[in-house]
Structures are given as structure tokens and as C-alpha cells.
């Protein structure tokens, strides 16, 4: 009974903190702009392929496989965790074991994957701590990002070690009549427990370590880059379905252009009812981004695959696609609390310039290598372009050469200074 009460208290604390965190995030989402979604069938297909099938992570074959194993392992192990919560709340033991072959499957795969993940964590930690991997570096990779990664890997390592502990001691406690199948643990028990330790105590310690680490992890995740454990599958499900080359239209510009090009309205005085604050063109700060941009930022796990393939970054330019989303998330954390209470809140700073410089934005070639590479379908070029749109249309702050290009298009209908009447000159020497 005491055990049950202790468990319920721990569960309630976990859920309480988690609810608080999520409600804050929801209030940040309320600040953001619309992003239309539809085509649900297609989305399910993308989610099955990219998220569940991990197709994009396999673009880096070896480490991609290791990640995919961890992901698939988590899927089966989570089912076991749900059972542990039910057991904890109702004071039961292995409450789902009556499901027969399904239980055997979940336990067997969970047992195998626990050991696989232990090895995977050692590989990941080794890479983080002892190897020089270019994509783990960069100006946006501050100490917090590095610590985030190490802490998460260590917690997962401990989670799997304690899960193995549960399985091993459970078999030892019920050598002939345990439910479920534990292929690797069953193999290890005779090797590990020949000296007659205290299986009951060890089982209790493993069980509580495992469940309390899950509770702790769940509440650390939303504050770390490892939030992708929760957000990446929805992020893939909600990802943009158009070809990568597509850039979304600006409806507010469309309205203005129509007025300008219509001879009846072009020279008319502005309409009486002008909104107090006209809608801003492009993205300057967090209130201008779409909720999908912000979800991208929350889902970004800072793996750096985007930056590792960025032609600008490869050739030493300041731009790092990953930094755009790391900055967006950090800026929302800074401005979101104030802005969610007061829509006119202004702290004198902005995402643009205080976080992301025009130099970074102008280095983008919109080649879409970043978006192609992102394992969870973040779309970087669209946000970069939206910030360029702000710079150009609100501040007329394009690089001088681009202003020349604009003038050429306006005057002679070509980005270069050639007269329109020369457009057929190429045909003269046919």
C-alpha cells in the first residue's frame, strides 16, 4: 500500500510539472501565425515512411541504423513502461501478461532492444566525447547543447541498464514460472547470479530506478534538445507536402499588388479603414513565424545534418541552417512569456539581428540540401526566405547588388541590364 501511494504521488508530481510545461508551450503556439494543413492520407504515409520507417536518418547509413534501432526499441519498450505505470497505480504485478503472445512479443523485443540500446548509447557517447565530428560543432553548439546531449544519453543508458536489471532479477525471482519471454536476460541470468545475491532488493531498486528515471526524463525533455522524442513524429506528420522547390505565397502582398495593378484603385486615396497595425511582411520576430516553424524549432534535435550539407557552411560562411531553429526556440523562450500575456509586449530585441544576422540569411542559396537531409522534415529555406522578405519589404535592406537586380527587372524586365528589345538577338546567328 505504501508502495502504491508513493508511486501515485510520484506520478502526480510528474504529470503536474509536465502539464505546466506543455501549457506554457501551448501559450507560445498561440502567438504564432497560421500554417494550413490538409491531405491527411498523404500525411499518414509520410509519417509511416519518414518517422516510423526512419528513411531519412538512413541517409547516414551506419549511425542512422544505430539511431533507428534505438527508435524502434523505444517503441516496444514504451509499451512495457505503460504496464509499469498500471502496475504501480493499482499495485499489480505484470498486469498485461494475460495478453499472451502479444505480451511475449513486447517483452522479448523489449528485452533484446534494451541491450541493443545500451550498446547504442555507448557508441553515441563515444562519438560525442572522444571523436571529432564536424556536425557536432558550430557557433550554435553552446555548452548547454553539448550537456543536453550527454545528459540525455546517460539517462537513456541508465534507463536501459535498470530495465535489464528488472528483467534479470524477475527471471531470478521466478525461475520456472515467469510470464513473457526475455531471450537475452534468460541467457545472462545463470552467468550473473551464481553467487546468490538479493534478487528481491535488486528487482525493487531496478524497478524504481527505471520508473523514476522515466518520470524525470519526461520532464527534462521539453527543456532540452531531446524533446524530439515527443515532437518529431508529429512534426513529420505535419510536414510540408509540396516539392522542396516550392515557396509559399504571400497573400497580403497579393492584395496590395491587385490594388496597384488595377487602374481604378492604383491612384485612389487609401481606404478609410486602415488597420491600426498593418500586417508585417515577412518574419522579424517570433510573433511572425507560423506554428509549424515553432514546432520545427521544438522538434530540432540539433543533429546538424542540415549544416553538414549546407554549401554556405561548407565553404566557411556564417550561415548554419541548424542555428536558425536553435535561435528561434531560444528567442521564443525569451519573448514568449511576455508576449503570451500582452500582445504588444516588446523587449527591444528581435529574432532578426539580435539572434540571426542578415549576413547569415543572405548566404543561403535555397538549394534545399538542409531540408532534404533533415530526418524530421524541418523546412529551413522557407523561414530564411521569410526573414529576407522582412528585410527587403519592410526595411529595403537588400544587399546593393540585389537592389540593382530589382531595378533591372523593374526597368527592363530582366535581372541584368539588357534592353527588352534585344531579347531575340540570340536567334540571329541560327
Amino acid at each position: 500500500m505504501t508502495r502504491q501511494i508513493a508511486f501515485i504521488i510520484a506520478l502526480l508530481i510528474t504529470l503536474g510539472i509536465f502539464t505546466y510545461t506543455i501549457s506554457r508551450l501551448v501559450s507560445y503556439f498561440r502567438i504564432t501565425k497560421a500554417f494550413p494543413v490538409g491531405q491527411w492520407g498523404k500525411r499518414v504515409a509520410v509519417m509511416l515512411r519518414v518517422a516510423i520507417g526512419q528513411t531519412k536518418i538512413f541517409r547516414f547509413p551506419f549511425i542512422g541504423l544505430v539511431h533507428a534501432l534505438v527508435f524502434w526499441g523505444f517503441m516496444v519498450i514504451t509499451l512495457g513502461s505503460i504496464e509499469m505505470v498500471i502496475d504501480g497505480v493499482f499495485g499489480l504485478d505484470r498486469s498485461m501478461s494475460s495478453t499472451g503472445w502479444f505480451y511475449d512479443f513486447v517483452m522479448a523485443s523489449g528485452d533484446i532492444m534494451a541491450y541493443v540500446i545500451i550498446i547504442a548509447m555507448l557508441i553515441f557517447l563515444f562519438r560525442r566525447l572522444f571523436m571529432t565530428i564536424r556536425r557536432f560543432k558550430g557557433i550554435e553548439m553552446q555548452l548547454k547543447s553539448k550537456l543536453d546531449a550527454i545528459i540525455a544519453l546517460c539517462i537513456i543508458f541508465m534507463l536501459m541498464l535498470s530495465l535489464a536489471g528488472i528483467n534479470l532479477t524477475y527471471i531470478q525471482l521466478h525461475p520456472t514460472n515467469y510470464s513473457g519471454v526475455f531471450p537475452i536476460s534468460a541467457l545472462l541470468v545463470p552467468q550473473l547470479f551464481t553467487l546468490g545475491t538479493q534478487p528481491f532488493m535488486l528487482h525493487e531498486v531496478s524497478w524504481w530506478t527505471h520508473i523514476l528515471l522515466i518520470f524525470l526524463f519526461a520532464n527534462i525533455l521539453p527543456y532540452s534538445k531531446h524533446f524530439h522524442v515527443f515532437t518529431s513524429v508529429p512534426n513529420v506528420f505535419l510536414s510540408r507536402l509540396e516539392p522542396l522547390g516550392y515557396l509559399p505565397n504571400m497573400e497580403n502582398v497579393m492584395a496590395e499588388v491587385k490594388l496597384m495593378m488595377n487602374p481604378e484603385t492604383a491612384f485612389a486615396p487609401p481606404a478609410e479603414e486602415v488597420p491600426a497595425v498593418p500586417a508585417r511582411f515577412g518574419v522579424k520576430d517570433v510573433e511572425d513565424v507560423t506554428w509549424k516553424n515553432y514546432l520545427d524549432a521544438l522538434a530540432c534535435t540539433e543533429c546538424g545534418r542540415c549544416t553538414s550539407v549546407c554549401p554556405a557552411n561548407i565553404t566557411g560562411k556564417l550561415l548554419s541552417p541548424r542555428k536558425i531553429f536553435v535561435d528561434l526556440r531560444a528567442r521564443m523562450k525569451e519573448k514568449g512569456p511576455g508576449l503570451s500575456k500582452d500582445s504588444n509586449y516588446d523587449d527591444g530585441k528581435a529574432l532578426l539581428r539580435d539572434y540571426i544576422t542578415p549576413e547569415e540569411l543572405w548566404a543561403c542559396t535555397t538549394c534545399n540540401a538542409c531540408a532534404q537531409e533533415c530526418p524530421i522534415n524541418i523546412n529551413h529555406p522557407t523561414l530564411i526566405l521569410d526573414m529576407r522578405r522582412y528585410l527587403v519589404m519592410e526595411e529595403a535592406a537588400a544587399p546593393p547588388a540585389l537592389n540593382t537586380m530589382f531595378t533591372n527587372i523593374e526597368n527592363n524586365g530582366a535581372p541584368w541590364q539588357f534592353p527588352a528589345e534585344d531579347r531575340m538577338k540570340w536567334a540571329e546567328s541560327l
Binding site: G245, Y246, M250, V309, T366, R389, E410, R423, K425
Partner: protein, 264 residues
């Protein structure tokens, strides 16, 4: 060399005669004005005539479709240009567009529809592939049989629109030896010109993007670096010159290669 001078049909003249071609060939700014890319336009025209395609060009009625302005953040200018272009297309009831420029291809295909312009848009690599498949174009297998060709994927054709095979199929028709760069298809490295970079200096860094890409192309040892985009062509041609390799390694558009393969 052709003895008969080719007369390029103009949309306005055809319309005056009450005719309507099947395709509009959108020449694009680079195709019209860039001295190097004009050669590609002429090569493509020769192929169109060789295959007996019903087409016309807009000539002096063509104007920028606004892509460089849009990629540089000037949505206002883009939409003004787009409205003008769509008006011209409406006048001639244009439904099918073929173009050599992946940037023009992308904006017509994916983005004009948001403004109310719906067209069937074909990149010249797809168009040429189709002509080859239909047997309307058959390259002489002797011309390139001692040459090796490496293809550079234009971002707006490849990653942007998932077209990796059509240009490779066109090159395959030449019966040359084909090589791939380590970064190819969806892993292809940009030439450095996209996103309006073509019209500005690069941001400070330790290398030019086109140098990085050219080095990769040269390392394959290919005789010919093939492209299917006017901006890629400029960047790679410059890169090859920068590396002092213009004598040994040539940069051609796939349309030029195919025209050469036909002896046009």
C-alpha cells in the same frame, strides 16, 4: 553545319495567322542574354526543329517571371512580374511551357498556381528525354564514345522537383562513359548561384561554393561536365577557368551535347 537558316516562330506572328503552337518555349533571361547560354538556347531550338516540335517563343514580349526577385525576398516585385507574365500567357491561351531553366521551371510549375496560373510545365531535360524515348532524336554513338561525362544536378531540378533521371537518360543516349560525383542526386552540392546568389557577391567565407563543386567535378577525371541550368553553367564554367582546366575539361548543357550528338 546547317545550311538552311532556322526561323524561330514567334507567338505573336502565329497568333496573327490564327495558329496556336503546342508548346511555348520560355527562353528565360539567361537564355536570351547570357552569351554562353545563348548557345544552349540555339542548340535546343535546333533539336526542336530536328524533332519537328510545334512551338513558339514570346520574343520581346517575354519578361522576367520574377523568380530572382522572389528568392531575394522582393515578393512585391515578383507578384507584379508574375501578373504581367500570366496576362501574356492568357492572351495566347498558353497551356504547355517548356524551358531550359530549372528556376523558371520551378516557379511556373509550383508557384504560379497560387496566383491563379495553371500550366503544364516541362523542363528541357524531361522534354529531350521524351524525344529520345520516342525515337525522334537519335544521337550518333560514335561522337562521344571516347568521352566521359559527369552530370551536375541543378538544385531546382533535382532536390527541388525530384527530377534526377531525365537529364541522366539524355546523357545515356550519347553512349558516352558516364561518371557520378560523390555528392550526386539528392546529395548533390549546389553550384552556389541559387537563391539570387547569381546576382550578388558571396558572403565572406573561406572558399567559393562553385570552387568546391568544380573541384569535386574535376576530381572525377571526366572530359565533360554536363549541366541543365544556366546558372550552374556560369558557376561551373567560371570554376573550371579558375582551376585553369578549360583546355582539358568542357562544360556543356545536355541540349548542346545532344545537338552535337546529332551533328547539328
Amino acid at each position: 553545319m546547317q545550311t538552311n537558316k532556322i526561323v524561330v516562330p514567334l507567338m505573336s506572328e502565329m497568333s496573327a495567322r490564327g495558329e496556336a503552337p503546342e508548346y511555348l518555349f520560355w527562353v528565360g533571361c539567361a537564355g536570351a542574354f547570357d552569351e554562353r547560354y545563348q548557345k544552349v538556347t540555339r542548340a535546343f531550338i535546333k533539336l526542336l526543329h530536328h524533332a519537328g516540335v510545334s512551338y513558339a517563343v514570346l520574343g520581346t514580349e517575354e519578361t522576367c517571371n520574377g523568380d530572382p526577385a522572389r528568392r531575394a525576398g522582393n515578393e512585391m516585385l515578383f507578384q507584379m512580374q508574375a501578373n504581367m507574365v500570366m496576362e501574356t500567357f492568357r492572351n495566347y491561351a498558353i497551356k504547355k511551357i517548356v524551358t531550359c531553366c530549372p528556376h523558371c521551371f520551378n516557379i511556373f510549375k509550383n508557384e504560379y498556381s497560387d496566383l491563379g496560373g495553371f500550366y503544364e510545365v516541362i523542363h528541357h531535360s524531361q522534354f529531350l528525354k521524351q524525344l529520345v524515348d520516342e525515337g525522334k532524336i537519335e544521337a550518333d554513338p560514335e561522337i562521344f564514345n571516347d568521352k566521359s561525362i559527369v552530370f551536375h544536378d541543378p538544385c531546382y531540378l533535382g532536390r527541388g522537383n525530384q527530377e534526377y533521371d531525365a537529364p541522366r537518360n539524355v546523357i545515356a543516349a550519347l553512349k558516352a562513359k558516364t561518371i557520378e560525383m560523390p555528392r550526386n542526386k539528392s546529395n548533390g552540392l549546389c553550384c552556389g548561384a541559387g537563391g539570387a546568389q547569381m546576382f550578388k557577391e558571396a558572403e565572406p567565407g573561406n572558399k567559393e561554393v562553385n570552387t568546391e563543386r568544380t573541384e569535386e567535378a574535376l576530381a572525377t577525371g571526366a572530359d565533360i561536365v554536363a549541366t541543365a541550368c544556366p546558372f550552374c553553367m556560369t558557376m561551373l564554367t567560371d570554376g573550371i577557368k579558375f582551376k585553369n582546366k578549360e583546355e582539358e575539361v568542357k562544360n556543356y548543357d545536355i541540349a548542346e551535347l545532344l545537338a552535337m550528338g546529332l551533328g547539328l
